[in-house]
Symmetry: C2
Subunit: 766 residues, 2 copies
Amino acid sequence: MARKAIGRSVPRVDAYDKVTGRAKYTDDLADRNALIAKILHSTIANGLVTKIDTGRAEKLPGVVKILTCFDVPDIEFPTAGHPWSTDPAHRDPTDRKLLNRRVRLYGDDIAAVVAEDEVAASRALRAIEVQYEEYPAATDPEEAMRDGVPLLHEGFPNNILERHSVLDGDFDEATKEEGLIRVEGTYQTPTVQHCHIELPTSYAYMEGGRVVVVSSTQIPHIVRRIVGQALGIPWGMVRIIKPYIGGGFGNKQDALYEPLNAWLSVQLGGRLVKLELSREEAFYGTRVRHAVKVHITSYVRPDGRIVARDAKFVSNQGAYGSHGHSIVSKCVTAFRQLYNDERAKRAEAVTVYTNTATSGAMRGYGTPQSVFGMECHADDIAARLGIDPMEFRRMNMMPVGYTDPFSKNVNWSDSFNQCIEKGREYIGWDRKRELYRNQSGPVRRGVGMSLLWYNTAVWPISMEVSSCRMVLNQDGSVQIQLGETEIGQGADTVFAQMTADTLGVPFESVHVVSTQDTDITPFGTGAYGSRQTYVGGMAIKRTAESLKGKILRFASERADTGPDALDIDDGFIVRKGEPGSALFALSELATDVLYSMEHSMHFTAEETVQAKSNAYSFGAGFAEVEVDIPLAKVRLVDIVNVHDCGRLINPQLAAAQVHGGMSMGIGYGLYEKMLYDPGTGKLLNDNLLDYKLSTIMDHPHLEALFVENPEPTSAFGTKALGEPPTVPCAPAIRNAVFHATGVAANENPLTPHVLFPLFKAAGLIG
Amino acid sequence: MARKAIGRSVPRVDAYDKVTGRAKYTDDLADRNALIAKILHSTIANGLVTKIDTGRAEKLPGVVKILTCFDVPDIEFPTAGHPWSTDPAHRDPTDRKLLNRRVRLYGDDIAAVVAEDEVAASRALRAIEVQYEEYPAATDPEEAMRDGVPLLHEGFPNNILERHSVLDGDFDEATKEEGLIRVEGTYQTPTVQHCHIELPTSYAYMEGGRVVVVSSTQIPHIVRRIVGQALGIPWGMVRIIKPYIGGGFGNKQDALYEPLNAWLSVQLGGRLVKLELSREEAFYGTRVRHAVKVHITSYVRPDGRIVARDAKFVSNQGAYGSHGHSIVSKCVTAFRQLYNDERAKRAEAVTVYTNTATSGAMRGYGTPQSVFGMECHADDIAARLGIDPMEFRRMNMMPVGYTDPFSKNVNWSDSFNQCIEKGREYIGWDRKRELYRNQSGPVRRGVGMSLLWYNTAVWPISMEVSSCRMVLNQDGSVQIQLGETEIGQGADTVFAQMTADTLGVPFESVHVVSTQDTDITPFGTGAYGSRQTYVGGMAIKRTAESLKGKILRFASERADTGPDALDIDDGFIVRKGEPGSALFALSELATDVLYSMEHSMHFTAEETVQAKSNAYSFGAGFAEVEVDIPLAKVRLVDIVNVHDCGRLINPQLAAAQVHGGMSMGIGYGLYEKMLYDPGTGKLLNDNLLDYKLSTIMDHPHLEALFVENPEPTSAFGTKALGEPPTVPCAPAIRNAVFHATGVAANENPLTPHVLFPLFKAAGLIG
């Protein structure tokens, strides 16, 4: 039998092209004669544009057109990368125009210049004169919620975008139990940015009366709909093309500047207009991770069993709705799933508009925030009770066999314990917890851990669907097209592996059409929700089986046997169950059927699969740190993530996903935070010199370990791995610092600014 | 009921983009940093390259790589744009390498330079030194066939590529009938070139280990196979992309330089290499129309009825095989079909290699040559018998009800007589034949006519297949993808019209994906054989019906009725037979089905249709000329083509096809001929200054008339119109000159060089 592709670390299908620089990204594809668009951003954080004088700017050489917030259509549109819902109650906030007269953050988009080159466009920006009516700015949600603070959006009193609460069990009754210990804590996560290598870039032009946008996006089919909505044109009049992209991490799960870019081209009669953001613009003008503050109150028995918990989440939405309340809703879901309170749990969440960068989707989608709170809190409880934090977790975490009443997700396996065991052994938990127990001196070590929970795909919150098409070539190789997107994570390679094994052809015979083009690519919603191997895998399986069925029916004529007696193995038609019995090559058959004078057929297959399931993905993270107390500085000594993402399609790519997520998690735990000037609302560190992104220089060896419990609901046994790796690192680091120093910091990143006052208050620094 | 798209002269779908210059052609799409390839051509017409010294050229700045005929793979490949045949007996000649050491024409490809720019490439060409062993060249087939003449290709004695003969009836017996009049004539047609506006242009690069060629071709799927063959790699490792192209007329129904271009890129590790020919190179280095000489002997009764005919065709193939003998085979087929000899016919055809430009496919594919011979001959017979040439034709032409025993084609209607009547009336045949009967003086007028016969598609000679895919958008509009190609003729528009009416949506709701990409576009063989509306139409009909079926099944759930009770009209779901009864909009339904939480589906449809039929296309052409006898100059006064191409999908586009074909036919009759220096074999007029292409300045008003007899075997009642218009003009003009002067010229074009000696011999010039 042929060597299977699944389970092997085959090289990425795009490895050579990407390493040699031959792979084409949006900017590589744009016509060199493209007109250049640049955006004029507001220099106040809150207020109203009263006048824009473009007179001087328009006279500058090379300036083609200037359009302002006074010119745009009076349409407010949503930007979140969710499937459209035919139910208005399930739609995303629609609160943004192409350019905004009502300015809501420092850096809001108020005008756009289109010029023949970058220099002319930049000069024009400087020559535009703007007058504002300015209002006080609120950058903090608690401040923004106060009565009397100017409202960012009409119809949202106290700047509250949305609020909801949940209750499981009888909370009041549960907390009356005698002997319960009440533990409380408030945990604050920072605003951080995705910092993908490729900045948001697009270009737009018209063709056949329709507008085409080539864009670095995770969600081409969704962007098509949003551009249609923003411009007020039928969605079929829009075509989105997505080439290779240099990372997204959720930022490109929003329609960012595609609608504006499309509109600018339309205003110029369809001339090709390119719009590439600077790093600075990406920081304040695209999306960031919601800063979430959570206050948790737990009621536990002295033996460590949680009886009830209450959590109150406050989420900083920033200036515009984007994914809005759905991120803090995921915080609440994570809160409800990770630990199995014996009697009750209660949560409340509020999302608040502020005059800061718009928060949207980012790897983990609320889970990093929620898990940071819960997992810091877990160690706080364990410390209070004097029990091992690992044992505390084992006692309370979601048990095997748990079935969620809403999503119907099942915890099929003992994944948590298996992950914990692997991490425990790798990090030397028992020895080090003991070894580092009673340290003195200025430099101390500690180990900490965190669990992680995630789900796979978005059903039943949203529709889940994926379509796939396969085309058989005359040499027996196949192309595969999928609406799901390669965004740097290696999706194309994994799709090719799935196709190869289902169809029975060598991995090298599968050619992935990496570019999505909404005119031709089967519909899929794109890269988000750690959904692609799960939902896309279902579509691939069904499509490959359909194609295989057609091939075998034709083969059976030639083999003079029923199609059920045949199979395909390693590119050969074989007798079923006899992989070595090559009857004839698929390549021969493929040529024959196409050129048959009798019944010429172009063998292709196309299938849509709607996923009506979802799957739990589990894991645990462990960190060892060395804390220099006088410097209030943390050095990460060792770190490991252990994941159960089901069956590993490509172990090397899986590990790479984990490494990337860990890097992001380390930055979240130790370095990254967007800082605003409280007076002006201006972002202070909108570049990669001032914003401390975690890089390889800051990392120890990153260890990625796996537990493989194939997921029964998944076509290939897989479940989420894209987002989970970023989740456990920050709380594991925080808990390691707690272990090392006895100081429980409740705010990340753990910079010297955070730690110094805590160490001082704890008497560690004189 | 909605206004149907079929039958209306809707504007071309690409009109606006093409008029504004926004439509992208191959060269527009090539990266500006492309490396530039140029070809070194031989300066002898026959011989062997013994040495190439590239030393000096390689040292020139900007030169990247020079490859010669000593470097290419030892693979001889076919170039003809025919579907591959699994039967070796039905394959095209394989007699060409990527670069040829054995030189067979003046201008053969012997080396290629790849450089950073055009200037460096051109300088390098001049710096390469070549040594040859030279043989005598033969530019004329009769010379090339002589014993002892050097053979161009091994295994082809007397340079004969192929020879065949056919016999219907008992010729010897038939010609023994008493009282028969024997009429003989020899008719010679010239070598002409297609002269499409866009020169053959391509660029190639590698992606994912495969080679991609973007090319101005009529036949992307076929070129894929040929590039695979030429490079000796599996066909699936090749991807061909065809953007808009600026005309082809059959020249681009060959793989021209795509194989060389692909190979050059592969030799450079996949760097992007562009290869654009000059007009001069297009003349000698691509393809030309076969010059055919035919000798016809007819046996007719005094009343004009043909009893038997014999024809002997000699076809000049030029240096390489290309479509080879199949063109002169079509000459023979036309000879057998147009006239209905009462008792017998006999034909013999031979295709001969010569040291001239390679002959290939060109609009009409042998028919212009054959019909020129037959229709000159028809007038010669009529004159000899003293009967009206129109009456002579009516007496002998293919009768209504005729069924061809091989193709099974049926002459369903009295098309010939209907076309003749329309033309007769337009040109004022009866009056002018009488009026111009007895002219004297130096300037005289005449009217002439010609019939035309053509068939549609290539079945049963070759496989005929077309695949189509349709994609429903969320606004109820659709994309259509087809392997058949827009080459400037308006195919995309006609495909959109067919789709709109079959599906029941407005014409504006159909978006044609014009670009073919062999990785994703359904298989179709491309633009040739006047096949696309016929075979592509079948694929469109079946695919649109399939998509409609899916839509109506979903609609029936909502309408609470069976799908058979519903229909789609003007973009609305209606009750069948009640076009006005809009139940709901397709746009609404399309959004609903995609975003359904119940059963989300991406509605697409894909179908392959193998055509196992073919259809006759008929017509007649009439011309009126004014001949200045002393100057031996012909002025075309009036000209009309009357076609029965079945149902007209788009009358304006149909007329445009006819106008273009007439222009080409006028050039064929009056101006165009490639001239070789008999000593060196060098083409003397390889540019548009020296080669007299027929242009609008040379034309009178071009009248296109139609007779519409819908073809029963055709999905939309259509049959061939792409090629037929070019057929009747040259013989009609020749017969008009004959009528005006009494001089029967048997060689076109009717330049003063041809006419002067004839007028002199006839005593018209003193």
